[in-house]
């Protein structure tokens, strides 16, 4: 669904307590300066700069936009345009663990939707949402290139293959234990 960007209010982050991870939430501008420096302030690297910011904060806090505008010499509209066009960028806070259920064709014919259903039920959130406690974000990804091992999910950078309903639930439980 297309939602026009007005006033910037839609993207103000909901600041919430986040266990010991990053609480209290703070944007580390010096880190972001470092990232911009790494790409020599090249505006062509905008997407990669946003990806690197997301690697630190798990999302791109809209508060960084003015800094990017200044350093890269681009308009804020371009930054929002790029950030909303590409799927790997989120302007809203995401969970400590981002679960991506692969819904590529190979995983689809092997029952990816059943895995998705089970995880939605387990976490009590819909696709694209984050749990209240900011522990998990549930997303669908169009193919992670592990097609032979489908159905596959990735949790942050780890890949789990050959899943069914119960093994997928077990994996989520193991991450839950890691947090608690």
């Amino acid at each position: 669904m297309f939602e026009p960007l007005g006033g910037g209010g839609e993207f103000s982050p909901r600041i919430r307590e986040w266990d010991d991870m990053q609480a209290p939430f703070e944007i580390r501008l010096e880190k972001i300066e470092e990232i911009i420096e790494k790409y020599h302030g090249d505006r062509e690297a905008l997407l990669m700069i946003l990806q690197d910011i997301a690697d630190i904060h798990n999302y791109v806090p809209p508060e960084v936009v003015p800094l990017l505008v200044e350093r890269l010499g681009v308009r804020p509209s371009l930054i929002y345009s790029v950030a909303t066009f590409y799927k790997t960028i989120s302007l809203e806070p995401r969970g400590k663990y981002v679960i991506n259920v692969c819904t590529g064709t190979a995983c689809h014919v092997r029952g990816a939707d059943k895995i998705m259903e089970a995880l939605k039920e387990k976490l009590g959130i819909d696709e694209g949402e984050t749990t209240e406690d900011l522990k998990f974000t549930l997303e669908a990804v169009r193919c992670v290139g592990c097609c032979a091992s489908g159905p596959v999910i990735t949790v942050n950078r780890e890949t789990h293959g050959g899943l069914d309903r119960s093994s997928a639930l077990k994996i989520i439980e193991s991450y839950e234990k890691e947090i608690s």
Binding site: Q51, T105, A106, V141, C147, A148, T159
Partner: protein, 616 residues
């Protein structure tokens, strides 16, 4: 490592590496491709290292993490050299036995050996496994041998020798002529002759760019990922040769952010190539300068389209433009730009090394060489398969792929990703090449081959692809943005049991319109999955619309499960597995399914060993 100053010093390095390799030391190669890694290569690797350390053998045994071997279904894969023992599906608890018997004693452990699922025969060596035996792995073969993070491994198997030829023995025109004569066509989907593309890019004045398309967006295809992860130098070498031929000083690889290992291994490869003097200024003392940069894509399918990819490289949203002016004339930064995909670049060194005549002897009249397919879905041996162009679907799916699991019926094979189509059983003897696939309404695409069986609903598959494309449409042009959305709405209605008479012809009409008037390749090919499924599986559409029934048991509103009292043995397996507690019955007596509790998750259907759970 000191920079290689000239061609002779690279020759000398290669010779010394070969000598070292021939000493026949004990080597364990463990597949660390993404498929095997998903099955736990990391755990096996750690266990092996620990066990070797415990036994004080770290110095005597080299453990090499290689790229993808292709047989991803059986991961993690381990091969023991020098014997060549092949152990599939290795688990960490088997490591002590492997170290004790096979590594120390050189003995084959029969219980770990691969058994042919058809003949039940034991096959101790990788080369004899039917999955590999029928392949011709000229591009993919080195993946399982070399450590992708070690440039010397690649040099030892002849790596960068094609670059030496291109720099010191051939003129740019001769390189282009060689590629043209080889008949190489773009492996990314379009199948455009590579040599002709290079030639026309070279003709245009300006700062020319050489770009590698590694934005492998087709769901179900992952050969580019495996090549970049497992043999990145072959792609880098291909690009440098392309740059020599085209006359370019700067290259880019546009790779998906979702492929972290590919990015990592490629980054290492570029650093190493630069360190060795194979990239950068004055390559091997030839006076030729060339550098390659990496740009990470953001997970937009449309960025696989050339103009969209270049817009993305420039730091903009990846929206395509109309191609009145081709990218070879005005592409990246408004300069002449030559874009080829990963697999195409990996073909280049092979052609330069072994000659156009040899290469053109493989394949069919208009499609030369080999093609890597990702054979996935409902097939016994899933994985990456490299075969000569023209190999029949039957050979690929049945002889290499081992057929359909659980004795189910083959229904269709989907090729070409969201732009391709579904090919039914009557065309199984079709020789797969660019033209033959187009004739039956599908396309080569990047080589995804998704096998579907009787449990796959073709209407749902069409709906699935349109749902994908609706999300991925960039939204610029109306036919694609609105047309796909309307078609998806009709298909969703059909899948939910609200289909009406006339829906099929409306889909055909809309599909024809979207095909004709969309701006870029995404739109013009988007209706293919719908149109081919209507063409070959019209009866399934009709069953959904007229009888409100989904014969494959996928569309939840259009079927229910029943337990056949005559075949049910009362083993209780389904009752134990049912997450809703909807199945009841006494042991050894036919069970009953409570339709009110059933959520149609299919757990009982998959669990039953006697085929007693029926789709009604």
């Amino acid at each position: 490592m000191a920079t290689l100053k000239n061609s002779e010093s690279l020759d000398r390095l290669r010779e010394s590496l070969k000598e070292r390799g021939e000493r026949g030391a004990r080597l364990v190669s463990l597949c660390a491709g993404s498929g095997c890694a998903a099955y736990g290569t990391g755990r096996v690797y750690r266990a092996l290292k620990e066990e070797l350390a415990r036994q004080g053998m770290e110095g005597d045994v080299e453990v090499k993490l290689t790229g993808c071997h292709g047989f991803c279904e059986k991961g993690p894969i381990m091969v023991l050299h020098p014997e060549g023992f092949f152990y599939p599906q290795v688990k960490e608890e088997q490591i002590p036995e492997i170290v004790e018997k096979s590594i120390k004693g050189g003995e084959l452990i029969e219980s770990l050996v691969f058994k042919d699922p058809v003949t039940k025969k034991m096959i101790p060596y990788e080369r004899d496994v039917p999955f590999y035996r029928l392949q011709q792995r000229i591009i993919f073969g080195n993946n399982g041998i070399i450590d992708p993070t070690n440039i010397e491994d690649y040099i030892a198997v002849g790596g960068y020798s094609a670059l030496q030829r291109a720099l010191f023995e051939m003129t740019p025109e001769e390189i282009i002529e060689e590629i043209k004569r080889s008949g190489l066509r773009g492996r990314g989907g379009g199948g455009f002759p590579t040599g002709i593309k290079w030639e026309s890019c070279r003709r245009h004045e300006g700062e020319r760019y050489v770009i590698c398309n590694a934005d492998e967006g087709d769901p179900g295809a992952y050969m580019d990922r495996s090549l970049l992860e497992g043999n990145p130098h072959s792609v880098v070498e291909g690009m440098i040769i392309g740059a020599v031929a085209i006359g370019s000083r700067e290259g880019y690889v546009y790779v998906r952010h979702e492929y972290p290992l590919a990015v990592k291994n490629l980054t290492k490869a570029l650093e190493a190539a630069e360190e060795y003097g194979l990239l950068g200024r004055d390559i091997l003392g030839s006076g030729f300068d060339f550098e390659i940069r990496i740009s990470r894509g953001g997970g937009a399918f449309v960025c696989g389209e050339s103009t969209a990819l270049m817009a993305s490289l420039e730091g903009n949203p990846g929206r395509p433009r109309a191609k009145y002016v081709h990218t070879v004339a005005r592409g990246f930064r408004q300069n002449p730009s030559n874009l080829n995909n990963v697999e195409t670049w990996a073909n280049v060194p092979v052609i330069i090394n072994r000659g156009a005549d040899w290469y053109a002897s493989i394949g069919t009249e208009n499609s030369k060489g080999t093609k890597i397919f990702s054979l996935v879905g409902k097939v016994v041996n899933t994985g990456l398969v490299e075969v000569p162009m023209g190999t029949s679907l039957r050979t690929i799916i049945y002889d290499i792929g081992g057929g359909i699991p659980k004795k189910k019926q083959f229904k269709a094979v989907q090729t070409g990703g969201p732009s391709g189509g579904c090919i039914p059983g009557q065309f199984l003897d079709l020789g797969v090449d660019f033209d033959e696939l187009a004739k039956v309404g599908s396309m080569m695409g990047s080589g995804g081959m998704i096998v579907m069986d009787q449990d796959t609903c073709m209407v749902d598959v069409a709906r699935y692809f349109l749902d994908f494309l609706k999300e991925e449409s960039c939204g610029q042009c109306t036919p694609c943005r609105e047309g796909i959305k309307q078609m998806l709405e009709i298909l969703t209605n059909i899948c939910e049991g609200h289909g009406k008479e006339g829906d099929i012809s409306l889909l055909e009409e809309l599909g024809g319109m979207v095909k004709k008037f969309s701006l870029c390749g995404l739109g013009t090919s988007a209706p293919n999955p719908v149109l081919t499924t209507i063409r070959y599986f019209r009866d399934e559409y009709e069953a959904h619309i007229r009888d409100k029934r989904c014969p494959a048991g996928v569309c939840k509103n259009l079927f229910h499960y029943e337990i056949d009292p005559d075949t049910c043995t009362g083993c209780r397996l389904c009752a134990l597995k049912c997450p809703q507690g909807a199945i009841s019955g006494e042991k050894k007596k036919p069970h009953k399914l409570d339709q009110d509790k059933c959520i149609k998750c299919g757990v009982c259907y998959d669990a039953c060993k006697f085929g007693a759970v029926l789709i009604k």
